[in-house]
């Protein structure tokens, strides 16, 4: 097998094989399990590094396996795939370190890390999928691999959250399946093609194509948590913090948003979809989600719940940017895929630190926590300011491009949505920062653990600080080569061929 075909498979295998081995490791083999986890994560990142260099220089990585007569399982590395692959493999490494620290001494870690690795395998499969059926396969695999992580704690509450998650995602998967089959019977192909493969179809099929679009977006919108399909996400926050990171930043919601990008760019083609009149309703749905998520976040006292509604809002930015259908807005949407991941994972890590170290779960318990855990709260503040869109964080870059893109295509109403949402973001994040830094502690923390001179365990603090640092760094160095912004512009250039 040539290197071009082997590399995508190796990228998958670097998390799949360690994961399968970990399932069978006895609970007490901590050192071996940690080694396998980290070795897999580092190896994957190295392989991805090689691949991104190759893709930038025009190498065509593709692996194929016949799945059905006429339909292949295709893994292919194109620039858009690489954006997501890099994000998820990097955040996986960080989250693995964090999870090792977070779960230290808790039961069933072999099972946890096994499914954790499967999740990332599925996410990378979603990213590298070269056609819609391959995408569907990994998308469903992601659902299945996430479920055991959500119910990991084995409480009745966790089981209920898992059930809600499945009701949404399995139903969404069914819609996606119907849409995919239907599309295949009409077009005879499912291979992702730059600028879509449907524009050549007969005009009499345009009605059917619009219905299929709705089916596909509904199926993907479940994971992307577009309203009214977002209900599972706030409930799923009963899961351990590393799983929240996985849901909100690394894998699940991103897979949904990424799928919407794929459908718009490489199945329908943005111009064709706009011609069918499909992009404007999608943009409006995304805008409504942006506002609704922020509004709901305002009224949550549970920290993770507030962050969850914030995700609902922030992920919709990605969809909004794509659906505005202008080259600059697309850059904003795509780059937010990465930026939202960095910011939100920082926030969830910090929420996990607070819960693990001091037993804080509610915002009303956070008074004066900045003095007790200055590093954690510094990271949290950077993430929160990023979410509001304060320069020089990455959040500002995203919103800047979204706004420019809206103006470029003459859709000024989007500016109002962006401004309103930023205000709301400020309204639900700034009080937290104020309470943490400027109020005096109310008394004893709910459940404090002693970490000696440090504020909390290294394995928890280091990942939070790293992602917070990147939130600043990619904002300051947005124009450096291989920054997320540059890569997103590279993709947008391919789609719009300016």
């Amino acid at each position: 097998m040539s290197g071009e075909a082997a590399l995508p498979l190796l990228v998958l295998a670097s998390s799949l094989l360690p994961g399968l081995v970990i399932f069978f490791l006895p609970e007490q083999r901590v050192a071996l399990r940690t080694t396998l986890n980290l070795a897999g994560a580092v190896l994957k990142l190295a392989l991805v590094g090689v691949m991104i260099w190759g893709v930038f220089h025009g190498v065509h990585y593709e692996a194929r396996l016949p799945l059905l007569p006429g339909l292949d399982l295709v893994l292919r590395a194109d620039p858009l795939a690489m954006l997501f692959v890099v994000l998820s493999s990097f955040l996986w490494l960080v989250t693995t370190v964090y999870a090792i620290g977070y779960l230290e001494g808790s039961p069933h870690r072999s099972r946890f890390f096994g499914f954790f690795s499967l999740c990332v395998t599925a996410t990378v499969g979603v990213a590298l999928a070269g056609n819609l059926i391959t995408f569907l396969l990994f998308y469903e695999l992601l659902t299945l691999a996430t479920y055991p992580l959500i119910v990991h704690r084995g409480t009745d509450e966790a089981r209920r959250a898992g059930r809600t998650y499945l009701i949404y995602t399995i139903a969404g998967g069914a819609l996606l399946l119907i849409g995919t089959v239907w599309l295949y019977t009409l077009s005879g192909t499912l291979a992702f093609t730059s600028r879509g493969f449907l524009s050549g179809l007969d005009a009499s099929l345009h009605g059917a194509l619009a219905v299929i679009f709705v089916l596909l977006i509904a199926g993907l919108g479940v994971k992307a948590a577009l309203i009214p399909l977002h209900g599972w996400l706030p409930q799923a926050m009963v899961a351990p913090a590393p799983v929240s990171a996985l849901l909100h930043a690394v894998a699940v919601v991103k897979a949904g948003a990424f799928g919407i990008v794929r459908v718009l760019h490489d199945v329908y083609g943005i111009q064709f979809a706009a011609g069918l009149g499909l992009t404007l309703p999608l943009a409006m749905l995304a805008a409504a989600t942006v506002v609704y998520g922020s509004l709901r976040a305002l009224f949550q006292d549970d920290l993770k719940r507030r962050l969850a509604f914030s995700t609902v809002s922030q992920v919709a930015y990605i969809v909004l940017g794509i659906a505005i259908a202008g080259p600059l807005a697309v850059v904003g949407g795509l780059v937010h895929l990465v930026h939202q991941g960095l910011m939100k994972i920082t926030l969830f890590f910090c929420a996990g630190n607070l819960a693990e170290t001091l037993g804080i779960h509610k915002i009303s318990e956070m008074d004066g926590v900045g003095r007790r855990m200055p590093w954690t709260m510094t990271a949290f503040s950077i993430g929160a300011l990023g979410m509001i869109g304060v320069p020089p964080t990455v959040g500002f870059i995203s919103k800047w491009y979204l706004g420019l893109g809206a103006l470029e295509t003459g859709q000024g109403w989007v500016i109002a949505v962006l401004a309103g949402s930023s205000l709301l973001n400020a309204a639900y994040f700034l009080p937290i920062l104020y309470a943490a830094w400027f109020k005096a502690p109310a008394g004893d923390w709910p459940a404090e653990r002693d970490f000696g001179r440090r504020e909390t365990a290294w394995a928890l603090l280091a990942p939070s600080l790293l992602t917070a640092f990147l939130t600043l760094a990619f904002g300051l160095l947005a124009l450096a080569p291989f920054s997320p912004l540059q890569w997103a512009s590279f993709i947008a250039d391919l789609e719009y061929a300016r």
């Binding site: 399932f23 396996l65 016949p66 799945l67 059905l68 007569p69 399982l73 039961p107 069933h108 099972r111 569907l136 396969l137 469903e140 695999l141 659902t143 299945l144 479920y147 055991p148 119910v151 084995g154 409480t155 009745d156 966790a158 089981r159 898992g162 059930r163 499945l166 399995i170 139903a171 998967g173 069914a174 399946l177 119907i178 089959v181 239907w182 295949y184 019977t185």
Partner: protein, 480 residues
């Protein structure tokens, strides 16, 4: 090729028969004898497979007489796939049963299951309708005896009902056979296919034979006997019944439909599809309502058999690939599921779903097997069940029969609902804890191996589907 001329098709019928005899005569040596036989038969099936793949369809006149007087054995791609899945399931059940049965029950299990295997192999190789009757009857007898093996009132009751239903079904079938023989002077499928023309006698024969076979296949609403029989039997027997025995009568129906029966109008196909839809929905809902794991799995068999009949109104376009693929993957997945249910019952001493009590932690291999088999049965990728569902969906969309799309998807959602209901309880603590008993390792691994096979079937589909075309059993008309 040194083995090119070996009559494997005869050997794979005689070997399990001989093995059954040997196990009966030397019960103390039954276990090694049975496993040896199982290996030998599997080699035989592989040998026959090699011949069919390289040389095409194989017809063997037993004793050199040939049709219409003698008995013909006939092997094409479809027979071969059925033989292969039978061998795979039988091997796994053999490994499983080794740990499952205590001394006394084992004495009866080995000869009976080998006898069942011989009957299945003979059935899948039969080329005439009377031979099919004989093998079907032998199969039914072996199956009834196996159900009774559990002992106790419930098992005997289940076995008795099973026996009566089976006899009724075979009787109806036999009447049809007599009518056809009287009308056309032949029992051979191929010859009948050439001679049969639509007439009242033929319709009557068709009706009788189909009704008998539908009863034996437990198609809704004739499924009433299945849950009790399949759930009361010992786990390895349940696996054999759900995976293979009900499929045998479906296989006969399919052969008749494709070769011997004259073409019918679309109404009959739609009607069968409608019954299939009823099975999918009713079976799924009943499965969801069960409180006992084995009964739940048995109801899921009712639902899955419904999918096979959904293929009748769809097969005109896409062929039978979807239905056959569903049959194969359901066979292995359901084997895994019954094995997992057996393990859970052995472990906790009961199979109440609400009291599973953290088996996910304490019996991880078994729950993994249950989960993976569930993935295939609900038709999620990657699995054999997904391939089958994709083919069926594609056919339904292509022919604009949207109502079948709805049924296919709704059936999948119902299945997902009960699979995850079970798995959810497997993660949580029960209110009434139970002292667990050890489960032999072989039983756990056998279940997992079958479940993984069901998943792997989702990645190798082109090969079985290509094999299915050997001998063009689905070409219509004189395919036999």
């Amino acid at each position: 090729m040194p083995f090119a001329g070996v009559p494997w098709e005869v050997l794979i019928i005689l070997l399990p028969l001989a093995g059954a005899m040997a196990c009966f005569l030397w019960p103390r040596r039954a276990l090694p004898l049975a496993l040896l036989t199982a290996l030998a038969v599997s080699v035989g099936v592989a040998g026959l497979g090699w011949q069919v793949v390289t040389q095409g369809v194989k017809r063997h006149a037993v004793g050199g007489w040939g049709a219409p007087l003698g008995i013909d054995l006939y092997a094409d791609g479809l027979s071969l796939l059925m033989l292969a899945v039978t061998a795979v399931v039988a091997l796994a059940v053999g490994v499983y049963a080794r740990g499952y049965f205590k001394a006394r029950a084992a004495r009866a299990f080995w000869p009976l299951s080998l006898f069942l295997w011989a009957a299945l192999n003979a059935l899948f190789l039969s080329a005439d309708i009377f031979n099919l009757y004989v093998t079907l009857e032998l199969l039914g007898l072996a199956a009834v005896a196996l159900v009774a093996l559990a002992g106790g009132a419930a098992a005997l009751n289940g076995a008795m009902r099973y026996l009566l239903v089976g006899l009724l079904g075979s009787l109806a079938y036999l009447l049809g056979v007599a009518l056809l023989y009287h009308g056309f002077g032949s029992l051979d499928l191929a010859i009948l296919g050439e001679r049969v023309e639509a007439s009242p006698v033929v319709w009557a024969a068709m009706g009788l034979m189909s009704a008998g076979l539908l009863l034996k296949t437990a198609l809704f609403p004739l499924h009433f006997w299945l849950p009790a029989a399949h759930a009361s039997a010992p786990a390895p027997v349940s696996a054999l019944l759900s995976a293979l025995v009900v499929k045998a009568s479906f296989y006969i129906l399919l052969r008749l439909w494709l070769t011997a029966f004259p073409p019918t109008d679309a109404v009959v196909a739609q009607l069968l599809g409608l019954l299939g839809a009823g099975a999918v929905l009713w079976g799924g809902m009943q499965a969801l309502r069960q409180t006992r794991l084995k009964l739940l799995v048995a109801y899921s068999t009712v639902a899955q058999l419904g999918y096979l009949f959904l293929a009748f109104p769809l097969a005109s376009v896409m062929g039978w690939g979807g239905a056959i693929y569903l049959l194969l993957s359901h066979a292995v997945a359901k084997t895994a599921m019954f094995m997992a249910a057996g393990n859970i019952r052995r472990f906790g001493g009961h199979d109440r779903i609400a009291d599973l009590d953290r088996v996910a932690q304490r019996l991880p291999l078994t729950i993994a097997a249950f989960g993976l088999a569930g993935v295939s049965i609900m038709g999620l990728p990657p699995s054999g069940g997904f391939i089958a569902k994709w083919l069926l969906l594609e056919a339904a969309v292509r022919t604009n029969q949207w109502w079948w799309v709805v049924v296919l998807v709704a059936g999948g959602l119902l299945t997902a609902a009960w699979v995850f209901r079970v798995i959810g309880y497997a993660f949580t603590q029960a209110r009434v804890p139970h002292a667990p008993r050890a489960v032999p390792v072989g039983m756990e691994w056998a279940a997992l191996a079958m479940a993984v096979t069901a998943i792997v079937l989702g990645l190798v589909a082109p090969w079985p589907l290509a094999l299915l075309a050997v001998g063009a059993p689905f070409a219509g008309g004189a395919g036999g």
